[in-house]
Symmetry: C2
Subunit: 350 residues, 2 copies
Amino acid sequence: MTEQSTEPRPTLEAVAARAGVSRATVSRVVNGGDGVREPLVERVRRAVEELGYVPNQAARSLVTRRHDAVAVVIAEPETRVFADPFFALQLRGISKELTAHDSQLVLLLTEGRDDHARVARYLAGGHVDGALVFSLHLDDPLPGLIRGVPTVYGGRPGWRDGSRGAVYVDSDNRGGAREAVRHLVGLGRRRVAHITGALDQTSAVDRLDGYRDVMVDADPGLTVESDFTLGGGERAMRELLDRCPDLDAVFAANDLTAAGALRVLRERGRRVPQDVAVVGFDDMLPFTEQADPPLTTVRQDIEEMGRLMARLLLRGLERTGAASARAGEDVAEAPSSVVLPTTLVRRASA
Amino acid sequence: MTEQSTEPRPTLEAVAARAGVSRATVSRVVNGGDGVREPLVERVRRAVEELGYVPNQAARSLVTRRHDAVAVVIAEPETRVFADPFFALQLRGISKELTAHDSQLVLLLTEGRDDHARVARYLAGGHVDGALVFSLHLDDPLPGLIRGVPTVYGGRPGWRDGSRGAVYVDSDNRGGAREAVRHLVGLGRRRVAHITGALDQTSAVDRLDGYRDVMVDADPGLTVESDFTLGGGERAMRELLDRCPDLDAVFAANDLTAAGALRVLRERGRRVPQDVAVVGFDDMLPFTEQADPPLTTVRQDIEEMGRLMARLLLRGLERTGAASARAGEDVAEAPSSVVLPTTLVRRASA
DNA sequence: TTGAAAGCGCTAACAC
DNA sequence: GTGTTAGCGCTTTCAA
């Protein structure tokens, strides 16, 4: 392993000694330097430089009770998480926003129920200022375990008792689905099928609702439940074709599912879009572009969702944080949930 | 935002008072309970339970100088990072291993040169016990900036002056490439082309070397430089076809590149594998399986690489950590680099 | 404006 | 075994 620094890192004390001032003064300079006269600031800065001083965050947190760190909890037992770049994009957005606010990203991946206690303990341990929680399934016990930690959810949580005032960022899944299905109908398709996502997630439920909004009294046989995966999409498509050979369009709950459907349609000799038009959801490049034919889909801005989540959380933290409370200054609104619009991206498949 | 616990969390002191013992005893119980008599352990446990006590990590780190946290640094300015599930899989492996050791994963994504200083500062700030660093390009300044923090690299670093005793985990890129090309040659192909990866990364260089090992005195025109992306693969394939229309096989530096190549081959009316056989690298499902035809490729176990990196780092930390040093017990070997084997996965494309 | 001093909550010697 | 005590490195009143 690369170099092990055995010699202790310099402390405030050391810097103070070197600069010939008190610890308090060094602390002030390090934290912005307000109320310290210029020549002293200069002296301290130089000492910091020379000694390569870096504040010890543990000591600082101990007194300030701030950590400048945010936990990102991805509660997704399935391998699916890593089959599409969804989370990577969210992380990217989050990371950008946090970085801009000098906050760190602590990633908590949970593989199953066992991990919930661990995550809860961690969050309760006061390691982080807040949490961003993803991919909740209905009745996920996690939210109940993390009370006391400011949290923003990715996607509307699916609690039966409403969302209990939880703050979340979501796409307009229902509206997007409506637009997709309307597009298919506008193309003259009458037998529009729907392959759902995992119905224990609100995104899947909302997309199904959107489909139903447009296809009122649709043949129930045209809807088949699936799970957001490629393999699931294949299975679902086979089932649909067996059940309703006359279908002329498919709205799939996401692009991965649509890719599976496309493959089966090709297998079965159905031409896309001539025989069957297909629309996906997510606009997950390069899946959609690489698909054959390139996939018409509903785009959501994943990275922006991540960024927004982080922003809401940080804003909330500032609002309740010591800084603003002390000054009693413009106490901003408590942040509230945001639903981002989607857009239909037309390609060759529909 | 969900609930803001305003009342202060209980401290060791509070637990001690409640259990009628000293802080030291509580501390002992909380940290394993060695050397505390059973009835007391019980009393303390109950008090902890009742008060919902959770240790304050900042206070603990301040004295132990351990953080039970490891930074994962992904230094990848390109969007590419998020186009394939490569990092997600590594993260998964790392996360599993860290979790098993009660360590946290702090993710540091760097978007460009500007971020290096930030990352260096963070690492120097003693927030973490060690670092796992990925995706280094040649002459990346980062390694120079993080001296003092135990580090394991993902992929062999490409420093001109050797790897300076750095510990890394890598795949046998060269051997895997050899196997891929030998396979093509074994199929009777004589004009085997190679689309390289980004040659500022050792993985790309090693794969090129492996290709050359087998194709000694190959037509230099059969090798074209690319960048591990789908678009890059398309461009490279076009160039190759223009330059060497008689080529009968392509070894692409990764699956994404291969996918690009496949697309262009189809465009140009070349049948795969009859006219041109194609082999990729990575075995990035579902890319390889979804490809048309399904892609023959060199598989590397990405998740295992991640897990191994974490294991090496943790082992090294234990070795030098207070615990083992104090006891003077079996001082294990300093961990050394590991190169994982690859395997050829045959599908339809070659 | 600057410094002195009191902790933040915890662990680890060292006594008892 | 258990308790007492001295810090870990920092911020933050409070005086000067």
